[in-house]
Amino acid sequence: MLLTRRNLMQTALTLGAMHAFPGLTWAQARPLVFATFTGSWEEAHKAVLVPAFRKAAGNANIVLDPMLSVDQIAKVNAAKSNPPIDVMLHDPGPALQAIAQDLVEPYPVEQSAYYKDLIPAAQVPMGPAPFFQVVGITYNPETVKTPPTSWADLWKPEFKGRVGITNLNSTLGTGFMVELAKMHGGSEANIDPAFKALEALRPSLAAVAANPGQLATLFQQGQIDISPGNFNAIQILKARGVPVEFVIPKEGAIAFKTTIHIVKNSPNKELAFKLIEAALSPEVQATLMEEPYLIVPTNTKVAIKGELAKTLAKDHAEIAKKFVFQDWGKINEQRAAWIERFNREIRV
C-alpha cells in the first residue's frame, strides 16, 4: 500500500482521537472508579482497601480518583446518565445532598455479608458507613501545660490570640458551630447561641482557616496552640514529629459517619458492591485501625485496640456513649444561611 500524506494524516488523527476520547475504544468495561478523599484517606485506601478488593473481585481494575465530597457531587451531577465515578465517599452533609439529588443507589442490604454487623449508626440503607471521623480538641503540649478538658477551655484568657478555627465550608467547621450552639442552649435548629459564643471568642482567634487542612500547617508554624481538630489529621502531624495532642472534651467528641455509596447509573454496580463489602469487612477495618492509619472501625466484629483504645474509646459501647452524632438533615436545611452569616460576622 502506498502511504500518501492524506492517509498518514487520517491514521494519525484517528489514533489521536482514540487517545483523547478513550470512550471510543472502551465499548465494554472501564475500571471501577472510586472517589476517595485526598491525603491520608487515599494512602490508607490504596494500601489496604484496594488490595482487599482486588483479591475479592478477581483482580478487577480499580482507579482511585480522590476529591472532596462536594466536588464528587458536582462531577456526578454534570453527567448523571453516564457518571464518571462508580463509588462515592461522603461526609454526612454532602451524603444527604447526594441522596436528595437522586445520585446514589440504595445499598443491596440483603446481599451484604457485613451490613448487619455494623453499629446501628453506621447502618444507612442508602450507603453504609465504613468508618467514623472524630473531632475533639487539638493542642500543642509544649505551650499548653494543662491539657484542655472542655470546649469551653478555648475561651480561657490564656489562649488569647492562640486559638484556631475553620470556616463553615467544611464539615468540621459546621459541626463545631453546632456543638457550640448545643453548649449554650441551642441546637441544630437554633444556631444563634453559637454565633454569640463565636463573637466572644474573637479576641482569642489567631486564625480562621479556609479549610481544615490549613489547621495542620498552622500548628506546624506555631501560629496556633489550640483548635478543634480531626483525630486522623492529628495523627499525621504527630507522626511527622509536630508537638500536637488530641483529647476528647467532656462534652463528647463530635463524630461524623463517612458513608460510601454506589452511584446511580454506574456501569460497574457489581464491582462497586464488592468494593463496599471489602470496606465493611472486619479484616480491612481491623488493618485500617492499626498504625499509621488509626481509622475508627464501624464493624462490631472488630475489637478496638491500640492507640484508638487509649485515646478514643475502649469498645463500641463506649463509642456510642462518647461520640456525639449530629442531625445533618436539620443542619443542611439552614447551612447556606449559616455560611452567609459567618461570612458577614467573621469578616475583618
Partner: protein, 285 residues
Amino acid sequence: MAATLRDVTTYDLKLAAPLAAGFVLFFVTPLVILLALSFQTDPQGGHYGLTQYVNFLGDSFSLGVLGSTLWLGVKVTVLTLLLGYPVAWLHQRSPGWARGLIMLLVLLPLLTSVVVRTFAWVVILGRQGIVNATLSWIGLIDTPLKLLYTEGGVVVALAQVQMPLMVLPIITALSRIDPNFADASSVLGAGHWRTFRKVILPLSLPGIVAGCLLTYAAAITAFITQSLIGGGQMLFMPMYIYQQASTLQNWPFAAAISIVFLVSVLVVVSIFNALGRLSRGYANA
C-alpha cells in the same frame, strides 16, 4: 502575463480555524451555559429571571466582597510595578552575563508551582517565621507580629508570586528603546532623573500597561494564594464563587457572581487598554 500575484500581506484565515473551533467549543459554549445558568431563579431550575443578580447587586456585603477584590488587585499591581520596574531597568543596564542571571531569577518562580510558592510565604509570614524571628532577634519586637492572615500579607505574597508577569513585558519594552535617546537627552542637558522621567518612562509605558494588565488579572483571580495567606476571615470573589458553587451547590447564584465578576474585570481591563492606547500615542509622538 496577467498572472495574479499572491498577496503576501494577507493570510488565509483558515489557518486559524482549529484554534477558533477549540475556542468556541471549550470557551464560548461553557460561557453561554454559565450565562443561561445565572438567570435561573433557584438551584432546582425551571424559572428564569434576574433574581440572582438582584440578590447580588442589592446586597452591600456582596458588593463589598467585589469591591475589596478589585481593590486588592490595584494594591498588588502598584506594589508589583514599584518592585518590578527597577528589576527590569537593572536587567537592561547590566552586562551580558548579569542579564542572563537576572532573567533566570525572574523566571525561576514560574518553574515552581503557585502552591509551593504560597506555602513558602506561609513559612515566611508565620509567628515563628523568618520575618518575626529576625525582628525579635534584632530586638525590635517582643511579641510576634500578626502577618499571616492579614491583607498586607496577601498583597506582598501576591506581588511576589505574580512578579514575572510584570517584569517580562517591561524588559521587552525597555529593550526596544534606542539607547541613543538617553544619550541625546543628557547631551541636551537633562540629568539622570529628568531623562528617566521624560524619555525612558514614557517610552516604556506600553510595557508597563501590559504588565499591569497581566498582574491585575492574575492577582484578583488567585484563589490559592488568597485563601492560603488570607485565611477564612477574608473573603474575595474566587472563594465566594467556590463557596456558593461547591459547598452550597447553589449554581445559579455562583454563575451570577461569576458573570458580575467577569464584567467588572472587563471594565477594568478596558480602562487599562484605553490607557495603553493613550500611552502608545504618547510614545510615538
